[in-house]
Symmetry: C2
Subunit: 478 residues, 2 copies
């Protein structure tokens, strides 16, 4: 082992390699604290060549490796199963090119999401995908998870904005996929790598599309008696042919938690749900859309409609939304942020059922979600030290996913499968579907050395290290 | 062979199987008439189960197979290399579901592109990708080629509108990829199948996203002294932060050909180029955008700006654009429609060079292109019966592709690699890139039985049938 660490240090320098137990502590899990595993080491390469060398050294020592961004992921995707070496990309954080004329930027994977838009703003351009963690999460991590965010409805997810990728394969060779033009001959492997959760290789460069900053933004905060009524308003807005930039719903329990926290935004205390509607586009077009949205909301049963008078008020509305998880996290030692998708039209019935599931298990369950996409985030606040409670949390999670799938949905929207959802893949995939996915993985990573055990567990590498870490059992729960 | 035909007939019925030499003639090539090969038979299955049975029978007889839509493709992708059986999907042409609430449709692969939008119009929705051949081409073919069209600039290509796919794999098993919600756990194999040119299996069902029909459309026809000036106007429009639905340029030679044909649209005879600008969106927002575009065009050197007064005038402008290839086809027995992409900002210099290449080879070369995407279509009108001319045509084609790649572009935009571009892949791919693509193909089609020889030729199946058909030489050129 010390020979491995020595070789890694010789590549990335002594400050670029952590290997003492106490240094590794924060790298034992990501945003899903229920899953944890100790890495052998954490390395911080500064370049593609260093990444290649790290991969080669790991291979030579028979140790797997895991790419990692800011560790904000919520499905355990960045956890080092099988005592892997974590390849942490925060030192590769340069914006290499901003091409305003052709509207793209070339960045290293460690660039922080919000920093990119900050840098491109002077050209009147922005990078559209804005996950709630955008002040911390990295473009590399966004690529791994195909991150969405509140503006997915209009702008799509990461995959709609990635033009090209440089990828170090698990055999340490380097491939260039895609082109800055957005066109590519052959197979769309850029699309296949985006959302592959770090299982196909290590991304060392990303070319992203930039979009013109909209001329004007209007943001509404609408309160409703309950979540189901808010969902009906969302349906009405869509049916009217409008495409808002965002349609976000926060439920009663979350409103209370937010208002009791540092994220307090003056949300109406008596509301059963609030809906944030954001419209963007040509300044002259927005007033009529705004009126239309107001009418639809009032007709659906809105109690109150506020329109942000200025940017600071808009930020106040969004503070409530983006701080929702943080606020919920204060209610109990642990927070399980779920992630599933249903067809938008099925939201009302599914939410009813999800709330019933939470009640049946006696859990503090709240809902904050991207209503426009049908992308739900049921949150469960709990204390894992009580094994009985933990059992209820896990059972409720299963029932929620099953309910979403029954409604024609899928088991993950933007958080990925990681360690968390492996056992639920059978809900949406047939044996043949799974087989195709596994074969695809094997064609990039035949020896399962790259982020082992994630998404589609394969068995080759497993037996040599820690068989338990690869199985379908819930690993590292203690 | 007769046993193969008999078995195929027993699956699809006698009228669903062509095998006599004279019946096969029109299936020997697609829109790229330079490449041709005789299929063993052409079958017209009516269902997924028939497709599975056809695939099984072909496998049992050791005969490869090729999925085919309307045969409008321009890279020889639907040609039956290795005496394959063509699986023609025109009898699978049902629209299975239109879900207006969740904005998607489920269709069989043989549905004609334009028919789909016609059927969804009553819901205020449309299917955005509109290749020039949309009155004939099918959704299945669009999926195979990741078809674009004049509205790619704003709406993207087919891949941006496909939510889910049912695919019969080369081993006759069936996989379901993606979901109607637009989210999917695991790898984005929907994205990988779109644009795979029928090499990964046979698509038997497609779920596509529908978009709200824009409230209003404004279309401008702007004439310029030359193509380069028109390109500068395009750059100015993009720089102004506008995202028109379309930015299409037609050059002098094409204008003359169009005006001498049934597509005559009253284009200004003295123009060196015309630019079609289409704006769509909220009615109230368009007048100002229209003014802005006019100003930019005039400042760039426009000679004349016409705005379509009504839908029939708009159709007249588009008739010129969509009829351009047909009009050019009248100038000589053969027309080679090229397809390449360059960064938008490099258009002026690249067009200059492409025209110089045409002149150097003494060819009738014209340009009609999606300027907003940098997607070029240099057309060469010629007579293939003159071998010397044919040599110049091929040499000019190579030089054009090399020129585009030097400018940071790629060798195909929306026509695919097919048989046509295989020998040019080395211009954009390293050995490692090619290897990754080939491995990917092999994981779906390890025996190279599905559309053999296309894109990334693999060798396994080859030796048994017709080695020449798989190589990098220009096949079927006779």
């Amino acid at each position: 082992m010390s020979s491995l660490v020595g070789e890694l240090e010789s590549i990335v320098g002594p400050v670029g390699c952590l290997h003492r137990s106490e240094e590794l502590l924060v790298y034992e899990c990501d945003g899903l604290t229920l899953h944890s595993a100790k890495p052998t080491a954490v390395v911080f390469p500064r370049s593609r060549d260093e990444v290649c060398s790290v991969v080669s050294v790991c291979r030579a020592h028979g140790v797997p490796f895991v790419p990692r961004g800011a560790g904000t992921g919520l499905s355990g995707g960045a956890v080092a199963n099988d005592a892997a070496v974590i390849v942490e990309c925060s030192r590769m954080n340069r914006i290499l090119e901003i091409n305003a004329e052709d509207r793209y930027a070339v960045v290293e994977p460690g660039v922080i999401n919000a920093d990119l838009s900050r840098q491109t703003a002077k050209h009147g351009l922005f990078y559209a995908p804005d996950p709630s963690s955008q002040l911390a999460c990295t473009i590399g991590g966004n690529v791994a998870e195909n991150s969405g965010g509140p503006h997915t409805l209009k702008y799509g997810t990461t995959t709609n904005h990635v033009l090209a990728i440089e990828l170090v394969l698990p055999d340490a060779s380097v491939v260039q996929l895609g082109s800055s033009t957005g066109f590519e001959p052959g197979y769309d492997l850029v699309g296949a790598v985006v959302g592959s959760e770090g299982t196909l290789g290590i991304v060392t460069q990303v070319t992203v599309r930039l979009a013109p900053i909209p001329e004007r933004i209007e943001t509404l905060l609408v309160s409703f008696p309950d979540v189901v009524t808010a969902c009906r308003a969302v349906g009405g807005i869509i049916e009217a042919g409008l495409i808002p930039a965002a349609l976000e719903i926060i439920d009663r329990r979350t409103i209370a938690a937010v208002e009791a926290s540092v994220y307090a935004a003056g949300l109406p205390a008596d509301a059963g749900a609030v809906l944030i509607v954001e419209l963007d586009g040509a300044a002259v077009a927005l007033p009529r859309q705004l009126e239309r949205v107001k009418q639809i909301c009032v007709r659906a049963g809105a109690a109150q409609v506020e329109v942000a008078a200025d940017e600071s008020e808009r930020q106040r509305f969004w503070r409530a939304r983006k701080g929702a998880f943080g606020a919920m996290g204060r209610l109990a030692p642990d927070l399980y942020v779920h992630d599933a998708v249903v067809p938008r039209s099925r939201l009302p019935e599914v939410l009813d059922e999800i709330c019933a599931i939470g009640d049946r298990h006696g859990l503090i369950l709240s809902n904050v979600f991207h209503a426009g996409d049908g992308n739900l985030h049921p949150n469960i606040s709990f204390d894992r030290r009580d094994p009985e409670v933990l059992e209820h949390v896990m059972a409720a999670g299963s029932e929620i996913l099953e309910c979403c799938v029954r409604a024609g949905g899928v088991i993950t929207g933007e958080h990925g499968v990681g360690n968390e959802k492996r056992e639920f893949l059978h809900l949406v995939f047939s044996e043949a579907d799974m087989e195709a996915m596994k074969r695809f993985r094997s064609c990039f990573d035949p020896d399962s050395v790259c982020n082992p055990g994630k998404i589609f567990p394969t068995t080759r590498f497993c037996a040599e290290s820690n068989p338990k870490a690869r199985g379908y059992d819930r690993v590292g729960f203690e």
